[in-house]
């Protein structure tokens, strides 16, 4: 049974993608059913991991080092669940834009297989322990993502997709080179085995450095962020939601596993300082650029650059020599909280922005004026997501920032605390303009807007509520993330 629980989240979306190509007429229904089915499986897997601890299977009965091991610990299973939840909400939201256009149009035909392939790539990235398998998962993910950016075929989105492609190709070849070096030195690609045999010598250091560089490019860490805003804002809204909420998290989780599970000893003080500083610069620079944008989708996309920056604070706060300290567990768990909260809130925000775009006809900010009267549910969802992104209580974003702040002050590295507070304030600044316009008293006559059904407005609200709920009921996920955490013997700071 465990075998199926681990294999199906990878196999089902792949199979559904193939069927969606062959039988385009049923593709939309099939994709939505797959989303719900995988969500059910993810819930089951989380229950299984919570009950019996981490589970793993060797695919086809081939054990590592030859075979590929799928492994679900607290980290992998919870990312799987959040991904499934977001896909289950995003796929129905894409129905109006793609399925209703008909399977004979390019976008209507291509969207569903691409979304399903992206889903399969995400799930593989969270469950696999094999570096080459992870490379294939990342490629599947990235190629589907690039194709989704270009799906409308407009000149500016093609430019954005090509820029994304150029960055992604460089990232993938660097990651592959790192994996090849690791195999050449230690004759295994399995993370668990590498952790056992890899000493902190230079072949492994070179391999991990190359993989980290490749993953940082794919996670859009400053200064490799230039591809992200045009790509994420140019894609159709449901695709933007998947790209911004999920795709960069896959490469980040692999990076987290590399540095905390495979080679924790290689994390020198200089390295954690560099990664943390790049993250901090991303927080400030992404937020400042977001403040200057005049289009809603660009604001949300630049906000992703800033929000991804927070994730890299895990390296100075929980990595290197600090890994054995009591505050490390809090910081390590906090970045996962932040990733979940950002994923849910950002998906909600892009879905809401897509609905605004459809109602108003463009996404320039002045079009939002007074929209709360015409579309109260979508505007409420946008407001709730904004609370999670700013890190205000009681959202999941607040729990993450609270844990990170506690770790920053407990470890005496108050400078990261300043970054956290400044990032929250800047987020409030760039989200204030759209919110202020949305909830202003005067504005467009609701009769001039294209109507958006309440059912569709409920989807972003569902995701935004999940982001808030993550903060209200944070102790369950906190404990769950500790299952299989590297170095979990050290007592953490409880929330």
């Amino acid at each position: 049974m465990t075998t199926l629980l681990l294999a199906l989240p990878v196999a089902l979306p792949l199979l559904a993608a193939l069927i969606a190509v062959a039988a385009a007429r049923i593709a939309a229904d099939l994709a939505m059913a797959t989303g719900l089915l995988v969500l059910g499986l993810a819930v089951w897997l989380v229950a299984e991991v919570a009950h019996a601890g981490p589970v793993s299977i060797a695919l086809g009965g081939w054990e590592a080092p030859l075979g590929i091991v799928l492994h679900a610990d607290g980290l992998g299973a919870s990312f799987l669940l959040v991904t499934a939840l977001i896909m289950a909400a995003v796929l129905p939201a894409a129905r109006q834009g793609f399925a209703d256009r008909g399977a004979e149009t390019r976008a209507g035909f291509a969207f569903w297989p691409l979304a399903l392939l992206l889903f399969a790539g995400m799930n593989t990235a969270f469950l696999s322990r094999d570096l080459f398998n992870l490379f294939v998962a990342l490629e599947l993910l990235t190629l589907s993502a690039v194709a989704l950016v270009a799906i409308e075929g407009k000149a500016e989105t093609i430019t954005a997709a090509l820029r994304y492609m150029i960055f992604a190709l460089l990232g993938s070849v660097l990651f592959l080179l790192g994996a090849a070096l690791a195999y050449s030195a230690y004759a295994t690609l399995d993370m668990t085995r590498l952790a056992g045999v890899a000493a902190g010598d230079w072949p492994m250091a070179a391999a991990v450095a190359l993989m980290t560089l490749g993953l940082a490019i794919k996670t859009a860490l400053f200064p490799f962020h230039a591809w992200l805003p045009p790509a994420h804002s140019g894609a159709p809204a449901p695709a933007s939601a998947m790209l911004s909420a999920l795709v960069p998290k896959a490469s980040f989780v692999i990076m987290l596993r590399l540095w905390f599970e495979v080679v924790p000893d290689l994390a020198s003080p200089l390295l954690v300082l560099v990664l943390g500083s790049l993250g901090a610069v991303a927080v400030v620079w992404g937020s400042l650029l977001a403040i200057g944008q005049a289009r809603l989708k660009l604001i949300i996309a630049y906000s992703t650059v800033a929000q991804l920056g927070y994730l890299f604070l895990v390296f100075p706060l929980a990595g290197g020599v600090g890994a054995a300290q009591p505050w490390a567990a809090g910081a390590w768990t906090a970045v996962s909280f932040h990733a979940f909260s950002h994923a849910l809130a950002k998906a909600a925000m892009f879905l809401a922005a897509g609905l605004f775009l459809r109602a108003v006809g463009h996404d320039r900010l002045e079009g939002l004026r007074g929209l709360a009267r015409a579309m109260p549910i979508a505007c409420f969802a946008f407001g709730l997501s904004a609370i999670a992104l700013m890190g205000l209580p009681p959202s999941g974003g607040f729990t993450a920032k609270y844990l990170l702040l506690t770790s920053a002050f407990a470890s005496g590295q108050w400078i990261w605390g300043v970054v956290l507070v400044a990032g929250g304030l800047l987020a409030a600044v760039y989200l204030f303009r759209p919110l202020n316009l949305m909830f202003s008293k005067e504005g467009a006559d609701p009769a001039t807007l294209r109507p958006v059904p309440r059912g569709e407005q409920a989807l972003p609200l569902l995701l935004a509520l999940a982001a808030i709920l993550l903060g209200i009921a944070s102790s369950g996920p906190f404990d769950f993330l500790q299952i299989g955490r590297p170095g979990d013997a050290a007592a953490g700071l409880a929330p």
Binding site: A147, A155, T159, M165, V173, A180, Y183, S184, A187
Partner: protein, 106 residues
């Protein structure tokens, strides 16, 4: 035997360096794609050489299997990139990213 292996490994490393230079130095996207392919071939050659580095054991089959998979992945990526590039050239009549066209050209 082992001299050849070292030669292949070094040749692979050289191709990676050449490809990386071409990838970063050129503005024309087709040249960048070709450079990426040169770089990828370098990685595969180096990986293949690593598979044969201990002649007593014979060739290690795992890198060979991975190289074949890697070539398929690289082919898919290149195909998508070329398709996008053709679209770009058709719609805007250019083959470089706008930010690269501003600067000096080779």
């Amino acid at each position: 035997m082992s001299g050849f292996v070292t030669f292949f490994g070094l040749a692979g490393a050289g191709l990676i360096g050449l490809g990386l230079y071409g990838f970063l130095a050129h503005a024309h996207l087709l040249r960048r794609l070709l450079s990426f392919n040169v770089m990828g071939s370098g990685v595969f050659l180096m990986f293949g050489a690593a598979a044969a580095r201990s002649p007593a054991l014979g060739a290690d089959a795992v890198p060979q299997a991975l190289i074949i998979t890697g070539i398929v992945v690289k082919l898919a990526g290149t195909a998508l990139a070329v398709a996008l590039l053709v679209q770009l050239a058709r719609s805007l009549g250019r083959a470089a990213l706008p930010e690269d066209e501003e600067g000096p050209r080779a």
